[in-house]
C-alpha cells in the first residue's frame, strides 16, 4: 500500500497538518504536499477512470506531465474540472472529486467498455454506428458523448477574477531548476534585464532529488546561493508558480502565474497572465521521463521511476512497500537506491539492457539490490492496484521466467527533453540516437523579426544530462542570450564544477518484451488518459494511417489533456517500428501552445461585463442613463433607442417621440456622428475624389449632402459636408463610419496622393452635436438667443458660427427628418450644458428627446436612405436613384471606374422604391419579393427585397423601402411578399418619399 514514511519529505512542513476531502472522504496531509502526494499518503491509489475504457487509473507522474490524476476541484462558483493533482498544492479545506465514472470511482458502469475493449480498437467508431442513419445523432452520439468528456461542466459564473500584466525583458528564462538558475545568473551578471520563472512553488527542479554536487557542495547549497544572489540583483525578476505557457512570433510569450490556486481564500486575482516581449528566451525546461510499454503498464501502482523517487524524497511518501524497478537507462537506479535508503524493498531491478548500467549499478548492487540485465516485464498483475509482476527476457516474446509479488512498479523508458516551448514558434528538432530522444536542433531555432534565433535552450532541455555538462551549458547559454539581446558582459560568469554519477547510454526499448504478441500489445498502454495502446498504433499503421498526424488523429494518441507529454515519443517510435522506418523519418507531431492548459478566465482577463469592451460615451450619455433610456449598441457607443416612460412599450415611446417632434419639438443627441476636418489648398480636389458629387464648388458657409463609394464602386458612407473656409471642410460621417472613413481618407492621402496638400483630423469626440428638430426648433433657439437663426439669416443647407445662451456654437441648418431642423455643434465639454438649456427652454413646447428608432422612422418617412439599411456593401448609388449625387463632370472619383463594369452598369439591377401595404400592416424586415419559377439550382427566383420597414406613426400605416427589379418603372404595381410568419403581404410600389414631398416643413 502507499503510505507516509517517517523519513523524507524535504518539501513538507510536518508541523502543519492539513485536512482535505476526496470524494467526500476526509484525509490528512501536510503543508507542502501536492494533492497527489497527499492522496498517496492516504493510500488512495485509484484516482480516476480513463477516457474510453473507463479503466482504473492511478497517479503516474509527479508533475505537469501527469495524464491520470485529474480531479474536479472546489465547489459551485469555484469549481474547476480536470485539475491535475500533481500540480495542485494542498490547502486546508481542499475538496475534490474524481472524474469520468458512474456511479462511483470504485464501481463504474462505464468500465463495461473495458470488457469490450477488444471490440473497440482505434478508430472503431469510423467503422460502425452508421445504420440506421438517424441513430448516430439520436442514439450512438449521445452515448459516446456521455461516456467521454472527463470532468463535469462548471455550472456557475466564475467567482474569481483574473488580470493581465505587460512586461519587457532582455532575457526570459523559463524553468527554475539548476540550469535555469545558472542561465539567469549568467545573463543577469552580464547586465541583462532578466525574468526567471518556475512553474512549481519550489526552486531547484529535479537536481536535489537526483543528487550530485556543485562546487563540491550539495546541490541544495548551490540553489540557495544562486537564489540569494539573484534576489539581490535589481535587474532580475523571480517568479514561482508561473509557467511559460507559449512562445509566439517575434519574441512574444505568455507567462501563466497562478496566484491564489494554492490559497483560494486569499484576496486578489486568481491568475495573472503575463504578456511578455523578450529579446531572448532561454528554455531550461528540463526533461520528462517516458513510460515503458509492457502489458499492464497502466494498472494503478505502476509509476514513473523518477516520480516514485520524487514522492519519497520530496514528500516522504511511498507508492508501495515492494517496488519492482524496470528500466532501459541508468537513472532508474537512483530510484531503487532512494527507495532502499528510505527502508523500502526493491525485490528486483530489471534492466532491459543486456550490458547493464554504469556506476549506479555498482552502487545498487552494493546496496543489496538484485539487478537483472536483459530482463523485462511480461505482464503486471492486478486490477485496481498492482499485486505482482511477471518477468521475462526482453529479447523474447514474453515467456514468464518468474513471478514476483509487488505493490508498485517503477518504470523508466528514458528521458525526453521538454522541447515544447522551443517548438511553438518553429524551432526544429534533431533525433539523438545515443540518448534515444528528440532534442532541439540549435542550428534551426525559432526566428525573430530580424531573422535571427530568439530562443535558446539550456541544460536537460537541451539534451544535456550530466550535472557538469548541464552547468556548463546553462552558463554558456545565459551569456549567449544576454549577448544576443545586445548586452556584452564585462566579465563572464564561469561555470561551476559539478559532479554526478557517470551514466551508460540508454537502450531504445519501445516494446517490452521486444517480441510481445498481440495479446500483450493490447494491454501495453501508450496514452493512459485516452486509452491508446501499442496495438492501436500498429493497427493505424496497418490500415495506412502512416503519417504521424494520421496516427495521432486516428488513435487519439497524445490528444488528451496532457497533450502526449508521456506518450508521444513512445507512440511515434511504435509507429516507426510498425512502418519499418527510422524514428526521424516519422517525425513528431506539432507542439502547440499552451505548454499545459491555462484558464480561459486568465485569457479573458479583466475585460468582463460592463468593461467587456471599451465603452464610448457622448457628453450627454449620463443624462440618457438618468432618464432610463433603452440603449442599443452602435459600434462601441451605446445610443438611446428610445426613452420609454412608465408603462410604455418601446413602440409606444417611439411613436410619442416622433409625433411630438413632428408636431412641436424633439432633441437628438447626434454627438456620435463622425466629424472629420479636411484642410489644405487641395482639400476641395481631394473631396472631389472621395465623394461621388462635386465638393470643390461648395461655397464657404454652405452645406452639401455627399455620397462616398469605395474603389470597388459600392456605397460606403454618406453625410453632410460643410465648407468652413476656402481651405477647410468639415465632413460628417455615419456613427459607425467615423474611424473607418478617416482611415480611408488617410490611406489615399498617404499612399496615393501624397503630394496633395491636405490634412485631416477626426474631431468626432471634440464636439457634442444636438439636433433640434420640429416646428418649434427656431423658436427654442431664439429663446436661447445669441445668433440669427431666422429663415433668411440661416438658410436651409447653411451653417454659421455664433452663440446660443452664451455658449459658443456652430449651427448647421440641415435635416434628416424633414422637419425644420438645426444641428448644433459645441465643444464636447459644453454639450451637456447646451442640452440642459434646450430642455429648459423647450419645456413650454413639451420638448422630447428622441432615440435612434424615431430617427430611423422619420428618415424613412422622408425617403432618406440609411447606410447599412438601404446599403449593405453591394449597393451602388445608381441603385438608389441617386444619379443626382454623381457628378458627370468629374473625370475621376473613387468608385467611378468600378461602376463602369458590366454588372454595375446592368439596367437589370434592382432599384429603390417605396412600398405601402394594401392593408396598412408593416412588412416583415428583410423580406424578399419572389418572381415566378426557380433557377437552375431549384431556388425560387426573386425580383426584389425590403430594405427598411416601419410603422409610421405620422401616416398611421406601414411604410417600407425596397430594391425592386425595374422598380421605378412599376409604380402602382402590387407585389406579393411572403413573410416567414406564414403570411403573404400585399404591397404597392410607390415613391419612397412618403411625407412632405415638397419639403414645405423643412423650408420654413
Amino acid at each position: 500500500m502507499s503510505t507516509r514514511l517517517s523519513s523524507g519529505g524535504r518539501l513538507l512542513n510536518k508541523g502543519k497538518q492539513i485536512s482535505f476531502a476526496f470524494n467526500g472522504k476526509q484525509f490528512q496531509g501536510f503543508e507542502g504536499d501536492t494533492l497527489a502526494s497527499a492522496l498517496l499518503a492516504n493510500d488512495q491509489m485509484l484516482v480516476g477512470r480513463s477516457f474510453k475504457y473507463h479503466r482504473p487509473r492511478g497517479i503516474v507522474a509527479s508533475g505537469a506531465e501527469e495524464p491520470n490524476a485529474l480531479v474536479g476541484l472546489g465547489m459551485g462558483s469555484k469549481f474547476e474540472p480536470n485539475q491535475r493533482a500533481t500540480t495542485t498544492e494542498l490547502f486546508d479545506g481542499l475538496n475534490c472529486t474524481s472524474q469520468n465514472h458512474w456511479p462511483s470511482l470504485e464501481f463504474d458502469i462505464g468500465a463495461i467498455n473495458n470488457k469490450m475493449a477488444r471490440f473497440l480498437p482505434a478508430g472503431f467508431y469510423y467503422k460502425t454506428f452508421m445504420a440506421p442513419r438517424a441513430a448516430w445523432k439520436h442514439l450512438f452520439e449521445p452515448i459516446v458523448r456521455q461516456s467521454a468528456g472527463l470532468g463535469a461542466a462548471p455550472k456557475d459564473r466564475d467567482a474569481d477574477r483574473y488580470e493581465h500584466y505587460y512586461a519587457f525583458f532582455d532575457v526570459v528564462v523559463i524553468g527554475g531548476g539548476v540550469a535555469g538558475l545558472q542561465s539567469a545568473l549568467a545573463a543577469a551578471k552580464a547586465g541583462a534585464k532578466v525574468l526567471l520563472m518556475e512553474q512549481t512553488a519550489h526552486w531547484g527542479g529535479r537536481a536535489p532529488v537526483d543528487g550530485g554536487s556543485i562546487d563540491g557542495a550539495p546541490v541544495d547549497d548551490f540553489i540557495a546561493a544562486a537564489l540569494a544572489e539573484l534576489k539581490g540583483m535589481e535587474n532580475v525578476t523571480l517568479r514561482t508558480r508561473m509557467m511559460g505557457s507559449g512562445v509566439y512570433d517575434h519574441g512574444y510569450m505568455l507567462g501563466y502565474e497562478r496566484l491564489t490556486d494554492h490559497t483560494p481564500d486569499m484576496a486578489g486575482p486568481r491568475h495573472r497572465l503575463w504578456r511578455i516581449r523578450a529579446k531572448q528566451i532561454v528554455t531550461a525546461t528540463g526533461a520528462i521521463e517516458r513510460p515503458l510499454s509492457f502489458a499492464g503498464n497502466d494498472i494503478p501502482g505502476v509509476m514513473l521511476a523518477g516520480a516514485l523517487r520524487d514522492y519519497v524524497v520530496n514528500y516522504g511518501v511511498s507508492a508501495g512497500d515492494r517496488v519492482v524497478v524496470v528500466t532501459n537507462n541508468d537513472d532508474a537506479y537512483r530510484t531503487a537506491l532512494a527507495l532502499k535508503e528510505h527502508g523500502l524493498e526493491v525485490p528486483v531491478l530489471l534492466d532491459a539492457r543486456p550490458e547493464g548500467a554504469g556506476a549506479l549499478a555498482d552502487e545498487a548492487r552494493a546496496a543489496g539490490i538484485r539487478v537483472e540485465n536483459g530482463k523485462a516485464i511480461a505482464k503486471v498483475q492486478g486490477g485496481k492496484r498492482v499485486t505482482g509482476v511477471a518477468i521475462c527476457n526482453q529479447s523474447g516474446e514474453g515467456a514468464v521466467l518468474e513471478e514476483i509479488a509487488a505493490d508498485a512498479v517503477a518504470m523508466s523508458g528514458g528521458w525526453s527533453p521538454v522541447v515544447h516551448l522551443w517548438s511553438h514558434c518553429g524551432g526544429k528538432l534533431t533525433w539523438d540516437d545515443a540518448q534515444a530522444h528528440f532534442r532541439p536542433d540549435n542550428s534551426r531555432p525559432p526566428l525573430g523579426a530580424d531573422g535571427q534565433g530568439f530562443v535558446k535552450v539550456a541544460g536537460a532541455a537541451n539534451g544535456e544530462f550530466g550535472l557538469n555538462a548541464i552547468m556548463a551549458d546553462a552558463t554558456a547559454v545565459g551569456i549567449a542570450a544576454a549577448e544576443a539581446a545586445g548586452i556584452t558582459a564585462a566579465t563572464k560568469l564561469a561555470a561551476p564544477a559539478a559532479e554526478s554519477a557517470a551514466e551508460a547510454n540508454p537502450a531504445a526499448v519501445w516494446l517490452m518484451p521486444q517480441g510481445a504478441g498481440p495479446a500483450l500489445r493490447m494491454k501495453a498502454f501508450l496514452d493512459y488518459q485516452n486509452d491508446v495502446k501499442v496495438s492501436d498504433v500498429m493497427l493505424a499503421a496497418q490500415e495506412g494511417y502512416e503519417s504521424v498526424e494520421h496516427t495521432k488523429r486516428y488513435t487519439t494518441l497524445g490528444m488528451a489533456t496532457d497533450q502526449g507529454k508521456l506518450s508521444n515519443i513512445n507512440g511515434l517510435a511504435t509507429l516507426a517500428h510498425s512502418l519499418n522506418v527510422d524514428i526521424p523519418q516519422v517525425g513528431t507531431t506539432t507542439f502547440r501552445p499552451p505548454y499545459t492548459p491555462i484558464s480561459l478566465g486568465a485569457i479573458a482577463g479583466e475585460a468582463r461585463d460592463e468593461i467587456f469592451q471599451p465603452l464610448r460615451r457622448t457628453p450627454i450619455h449620463d443624462w440618457h442613463e438618468e432618464q432610463g433610456a433603452f440603449f442599443e449598441p452602435v459600434g462601441h457607443w451605446r445610443r438611446p433607442y428610445c426613452f420609454p416612460r412608465k408603462g410604455e412599450t418601446h413602440a409606444q415611446a417611439v411613436s410619442r417621440e416622433i409625433n411630438q417632434t413632428r408636431e412641436a419639438l424633439g432633441l437628438l443627441d447626434a454627438s456620435t456622428l463622425g466629424k472629420i476636418i479636411v484642410k489644405g489648398p487641395d482639400a476641395g480636389k481631394f473631396l472631389d475624389m472621395l465623394y461621388t458629387n462635386m465638393m470643390s464648388t461648395l461655397k464657404p458657409g454652405k452645406c452639401r449632402y455627399g455620397l462616398m463609394c469605395n474603389e470597388n464602386g459600392f456605397l460606403v458612407d454618406d453625410g453632410v459636408v460643410a465648407r468652413i473656409d476656402e481651405d477647410t471642410f468639415l465632413c460628417h460621417t455615419t456613427t459607425g463610419g467615423a474611424d473607418r472613413i478617416h482611415g480611408h481618407m488617410e490611406d489615399w492621402l498617404q499612399c496615393e496622393w501624397w503630394d496633395w496638400k491636405v490634412y485631416t483630423a477626426n474631431v468626432t469626440e471634440e464636439y457634442a452635436q444636438i439636433a433640434v428638430v420640429g416646428p418649434k426648433a427656431r423658436e427654442v433657439l431664439e429663446k436661447l438667443g445669441g445668433m440669427d437663426v431666422s429663415k433668411e439669416g440661416l438658410k436651409f443647407m447653411e451653417w454659421a458660427d455664433g452663440e446660443l445662451a452664451g455658449i459658443p456654437v456652430r449651427a448647421y441648418r440641415i435635416s434628416f427628418s424633414g422637419e425644420l431642423s438645426y444641428e448644433i455643434a459645441v465643444p464636447a465639454s459644453l454639450g451637456r450644458a447646451l442640452w440642459d438649456k434646450l430642455l429648459e427652454a423647450g419645456a413650454e413646447f413639451n420638448v422630447m428627446p428622441y432615440g435612434t428608432e424615431a430617427l430611423h422612422v422619420m428618415r424613412a418617412e422622408k425617403g432618406f436612405i440609411m447606410i447599412g439599411d438601404e446599403t449593405d456593401g453591394t449597393v451602388i448609388p445608381q441603385d438608389l436613384n441617386m444619379q443626382w449625387a454623381i457628378s458627370k463632370k468629374k473625370e475621376d472619383f473613387l468608385g467611378k471606374r468600378a461602376q463602369m463594369r458590366t454588372h454595375m452598369a446592368d439596367p437589370n439591377r434592382w432599384k429603390l422604391v417605396g412600398l405601402e401595404t394594401l392593408d396598412g400592416s408593416v412588412l416583415p424586415d428583410g423580406a424578399y419579393v419572389p418572381a415566378g419559377g426557380t433557377n437552375a439550382n431549384g431556388q425560387r427566383n426573386t425580383q426584389g427585397r425590403v430594405t427598411s420597414t416601419y410603422h409610421s406613426p405620422t401616416l398611421g400605416k406601414g411604410i417600407a423601402m425596397a430594391l425592386v427589379h425595374n422598380g421605378p418603372d412599376r409604380m402602382g404595381e402590387v407585389l406579393e411578399i411572403p413573410g416567414t410568419d406564414g403570411k403573404t403581404y400585399k404591397a404597392r410600389i410607390c415613391d419612397p418619399v412618403f411625407y412632405d414631398k415638397d419639403g414645405e416643413k423643412q423650408n420654413v
Binding site: F119, K137, E141, R145, P633, R901, T902, G926, N935
Partner: protein, 414 residues
C-alpha cells in the same frame, strides 16, 4: 475492399484486428491520368470521388504534397451550415449539407455528421435585421432556417448569458439541420472510397511545375517525376496562389492565418453550435467533450500555420462574456490554418485562363462545411465544362463586378 460494420469489427476482434486492410492504397504515380487533382484535402478528394461516382471518370490521381487531409480539412472547427444569404452560396452550401446527411452511408465510413443545430446570435438591431433577411432568403432558397427569440435561444443553449450588459442576445438565426462532423473522417472516408474506385492517392508528392502546350495543360512536374494529364484540378486552399503562380497565372487570392483553439474535454453541456459574430466568437462541443472555439484571421499574409495570441484573447473574452461558465475551463491547444481569401470572400470554382485547368479555392474561413458540395460542383465542372452550382463562382465575376458578398448579413464568420 471489405465493408465496415459492427460485424466486421466482431470478426476482426477474434483475430486481434490483424485482418484489416489499408483504408487507401499507397501507389506509385502512373505516367498519365485522365484527370489529376492537386490537393488531397476534403475538397480535392471529394472532387475525385464525384468524378468517379457521378461521371465514371476513375483514371484519376490525387496528388498531395504532405499527408492527405493535413491542411485546413484537419484544422477547422467542423461547423456545417447552409444559412447563407446569397443564392449561389445557399445553393452550394445546402447541397453540401444535404450530402453530409448521408455521407457516412455513402462512403461506408462514419464521419459522425451530427445535425445538432446551429444558432447565429443577433446582438445588435442591425444583426437582427440581417438575420431576418437571411431567414426570408433561405425560405425561398429551400434552406430551412428560422429567426428565434432569446427565450428559444436559452432553451437550446442553457449555458448562455442572454443579458450581457454590453451585447444582450436579441434573437438568433437557427438552422436545425446544421451541425458538425468529424473533420479527419471526411478526408479519410473520401480517400478510402476513391482508392476503392481505383484512383491513385499519392502523398508526399509536391507539384513543382505545370506543363502547358499551345495554351492547354498537358501535365505536371512533381518531386516524384512528371505526370501527364488531360485535365488538371487545383484544389489546394491556402496555397492556391502559389500553385497558380507555377502554372503562370495569378488568382485574386490572399492567404491569411485563421486562429482556433479547443478547451479541455468536459461532460456534455452544449448540444448546439453557437456563433456570435458581433463579439467575434463561435463555439461547439465535440463528441470528445472539448469546446471547439474559432477565432479571427490575422490581417496580414501569412503561411506559417502557427497560432498567434491576440485573436485568441479577443475570442475567449467574447465567449466568457457569452457563456460565463467557460471562464473556469482551460485552453488545451491553439493552432492556425492558412485560409485563402478572395476579393468578395466567396470561393472560386472556375475554369482557369489555361485550357484544361480548373480552380477550386477561396473558401476562406468556411471551407469544411462545403466539402461535398464543392466536390460535387467541381467534378461536374471538370467533366462537363459547366455546373449550375459553380456557375456564379467563376473568375470572371471579378472583372464584371458581380460579387457574391456574404458579409452583407453580418455573417462574416464561419
Amino acid at each position: 475492399m471489405k465493408r465496415y460494420s459492427a460485424f466486421a469489427i466482431a470478426r476482426e476482434a477474434a483475430r486481434y484486428h490483424t485482418g484489416w486492410e489499408r483504408a487507401w492504397a499507397s501507389p506509385k504515380p502512373k505516367k498519365k491520368y485522365d484527370v489529376i487533382i492537386v490537393g488531397a484535402g476534403g475538397h480535392g478528394l471529394a472532387t475525385a470521388y464525384y468524378l468517379g461516382k457521378n461521371f465514371g471518370i476513375t483514371n484519376v490521381a490525387v496528388l498531395e504534397k504532405g499527408w492527405l487531409g493535413g491542411g485546413n480539412t484537419g484544422r477547422n472547427t467542423t461547423i456545417i451550415r447552409s444559412n447563407y444569404l446569397q443564392d449561389p452560396s445557399a445553393a452550394i452550401y445546402e447541397k453540401a449539407r444535404s450530402l453530409y446527411e448521408t455521407m457516412s452511408q455513402d462512403l461506408n465510413y462514419n464521419v459522425m455528421f451530427s445535425p445538432r443545430g446551429v444558432i447565429m446570435l443577433a446582438q445588435t438591431e442591425h444583426e437582427v435585421r440581417g438575420y431576418q433577411r437571411t431567414a426570408h432568403a433561405n425560405a425561398l432558397q429551400g434552406v430551412k432556417t428560422e429567426f428565434i427569440s432569446p427565450q428559444k435561444v436559452k432553451e437550446l443553449v442553457p449555458i448562455i448569458n442572454l443579458d450581457g450588459p454590453r451585447y444582450p442576445v436579441l434573437g438568433g438565426l437557427w438552422q436545425e439541420r446544421g451541425g458538425t462532423a468529424r473533420h479527419d473522417a471526411v478526408a479519410w472516408g473520401y480517400a478510402r472510397a476513391c482508392s476503392q474506385m481505383g484512383m491513385d492517392i499519392i502523398q508526399k508528392c509536391e507539384v513543382t511545375g505545370v506543363r502547358n502546350e499551345g495554351g492547354k495543360v498537358v501535365g505536371v512536374e512533381t518531386n516524384q517525376g512528371p505526370i501527364d494529364c488531360d485535365k488538371l484540378g487545383m484544389v489546394v486552399a491556402g496555397h492556391a496562389g502559389v500553385l497558380a503562380e507555377k502554372a503562370g497565372f495569378r488568382l485574386p487570392i490572399e492567404s491569411l492565418a485563421l486562429q482556433a483553439l479547443v478547451s479541455e474535454p468536459i461532460k456534455p453541456c452544449m448540444d448546439v453550435v453557437v456563433m456570435a459574430n458581433t463579439v467575434h466568437g463561435y463555439m461547439s462541443q465535440s463528441d470528445k467533450g472539448e469546446m471547439v472555439i474559432g477565432g479571427g484571421t490575422d490581417g496580414f499574409n501569412n503561411y506559417t500555420q502557427r497560432g498567434s495570441y491576440h485573436h485568441i484573447e479577443e475570442t475567449v473574452r467574447a465567449l466568457v462574456e457569452t457563456f460565463p461558465m467557460v471562464s473556469r475551463l482551460k485552453m488545451l491547444r491553439q493552432w492556425g490554418g492558412i485560409v485563402d481569401m478572395t476579393g468578395d470572400r466567396s470561393p472560386i470554382l472556375s475554369k482557369a485562363p489555361i485550357d484544361g485547368i480548373f480552380v477550386n479555392c477561396g473558401w476562406g474561413t468556411g471551407g469544411f462545411k462545403a466539402i461535398p458540395g464543392s466536390g460535387w460542383a467541381m467534378a461536374e465542372l471538370m467533366a462537363k465544362g459547366h455546373s449550375p452550382l459553380a456557375e456564379d463562382f467563376g473568375l470572371n465575376r471579378f472583372t464584371e463586378g458581380r460579387f457574391i458578398d456574404e458579409s452583407v448579413a453580418a455573417g462574416v464568420a464561419h
